[in-house]
Symmetry: C2
Subunit: 347 residues, 2 copies
């Protein structure tokens, strides 16, 4: 199976894929012949298609139906045949406005949510944004606040504007003045560090402070160390789930639909779908059976990491049917990822 393709075979495959993307129906030889300007008769096309089938790029749902591309077929198309369309001007403008314009007064959180919603509506697929390496970002400020008797809240703000808070249990209540003093001290320590770095620093300081017997500061360090042990959770934003319903292939088969929507309820599954994209910055396309979640054979994921500074910080992806319009979706995701990167950069 799966031999090399000559140019003609490739062109036929391309047309089959593109027609199938458009119509969601099996494609016949006559259609392809027409699409190729009748250089070749349907009969010839049939021969070529039979070859393509033998090589594993196409299948027939049943004898005497047209052909449908397999995952392998789509993969070949995406890797070698795809004519990348540039993103349309108005879409680019919309995205840019959303990513940059609001940056001023919107929290990072809201910005991502709105951005993801826009991408989902532009693509007419479900859009997922994962924010995962929060803890590796350098901090802008750190603050302990009172949050009830026996409880203190540690609020951290990263330089990119992500706010995070965690509750710490603490038997002895600290006075407002104490907290203020601690905060001053903590912020000095934290300047420019990431959370794990801060944690290390705090542990070092604790040894020194122990010697100095400054009870208050020791207490501060103890508290923060406790909070930082946990590590940051991964944030996941999903918008446009309902777009899945627009796909004719799912509207017919409620079982598939169920599986997919159930999967969307579980954060961890979504993260798993996208986490390959976290590796690098390049765009990742997982087609049908290729994707890392078993049981979701009917969906594709187009995702890309985005970075902050010099490391990837999360990923943005579109989830739709295998039959998605990659030539439009891939540039869209690429551009969106780049925009996200720069939006965080310029905060």
């Amino acid at each position: 199976m799966t031999g090399a393709l000559d140019d003609r075979g490739a062109q036929v495959l391309r047309h089959v894929v593109e027609d199938y993307i458009e119509t969601a129906e099996p494609v016949g030889s006559r259609t392809i012949s027409k699409k190729m300007g009748q250089q070749l008769s349907p009969a010839t096309i049939r021969n070529i298609m039979a070859d393509l089938e033998e090589m594993g790029y196409l299948v027939q749902p049943h004898t005497s139906a047209g052909r449908v591309p397999t995952s392998t077929g789509f993969r070949y198309y995406v890797d070698y045949l795809l004519a990348r369309r540039k993103l349309a001007r108005p879409e680019r403008d919309q995205l840019q406005r959303m990513a940059a314009g609001d940056a001023g007064s919107t929290s990072a959180d809201d910005m991502v949510r709105q951005f993801s919603r826009l991408v989902s509506s532009l693509s007419r697929h479900a859009c997922v944004v994962v924010v995962s390496r929060l803890s590796s970002q350098p901090l802008r400020s750190v603050n302990l606040m009172r949050a009830g008797s026996g409880k203190v809240l540690l609020v951290t703000v990263t330089q990119a504007g992500w706010v995070e808070h965690r509750l710490i249990e603490d038997e002895t209540d600290l006075s407002g003045d104490d907290l203020a003093a601690i905060n001053g001290y903590l912020n000095e320590l934290a300047a420019g560090l990431s959370l794990p770095q801060l944690r290390v620093k705090i542990l070092q300081e604790m040894k020194r402070e122990k010697a100095r017997y400054d009870r208050l500061m020791h207490r501060a360090l103890l508290l923060s160390a406790k909070a930082l042990d946990e590590g940051s959770p991964t944030e996941v934003y999903v918008e446009g789930r309902a777009n899945i319903l627009e796909q004719p292939e799912f509207a017919e088969d409620v079982q598939k639909l169920k599986r997919i929507l159930r999967a969307f309820e579980e954060k961890s599954v979504i993260v798993r779908l996208l986490d390959r994209a976290l590796e690098g910055e390049a765009i990742q396309v997982s087609i049908g059976s290729e994707n890392p979640v078993e049981g979701l054979l009917d969906i594709s994921v187009v995702a890309s990491g985005y970075r902050l500074g010099d490391q990837t910080m999360g990923s943005i992806g579109l989830i739709g049917p295998v039959r998605m319009d990659y030539s439009r979706i891939i540039p869209l995701v690429e551009y969106s990822a780049r925009l996200l990167s720069s939006a965080f950069e310029h905060r």
Copy 2:
């Protein structure tokens, strides 16, 4: 239409509703006759059912099919015929553990999310929790933090443990010491007040400070006043959307399904569905056509407000098909609302 029901009619209606809830199929006279211990023959039941139909409590999908309760029928059932089952012990225990046990170390946010998820899985419907009157809660502490050049973050923690933050634009950068001073001052002002109250107080103070020409404090007040102008957003938690798919009546009709899932994407729609429950503490049942969102004729909402202190703070609701098991769902929602109230009380 819609006359009074004698006892026999009511009993028949009750059985029709209950059977329909169980089977999702039109109910015939023979079935009812059996259910009632054959005190009455099918023929008699038929007469009664014909009456019930005339009064608007039942309909026939077509001649020679059984009957299905109308919204009016369900309404009558809920108002007068419902035998309220008590919540099963293990379910109560689970809920209690979730609401109380975690209260210590979990943020209010997470607690609500997990609680809602549990309620959804117990009920096998979609569970929504709305947190809307955040701003009326008394504050525990307030804090300004640096959040980038020209930006300051105002973090507020309410006594019930809700954390909120808002970004404020601010041209001149304040030093750490300045912020500390401001925070001390703000916290003194804020003690025991709710956000709007704090806002009023700040505006008062601004007048006085102007006279005193204390530039720093004036600046602090200006910042906070700006942030507080906006009012708190309403938080919405939805869990278990996919449960909708389990209902046979929706699995068949993809159009309905689409409408419902689309509605779930829009926060404002969900809030609208539940906001009747915000009025008081009593349980609210909106059946089919009764519910405030047009176009969602096939779903029912069972919701109840929950309170913090002496006023309702939000609501919790279950959303499912009209044919939901009210006798189980109503006590579940009631109990959940009460638990939420007390969970917030004891923070």
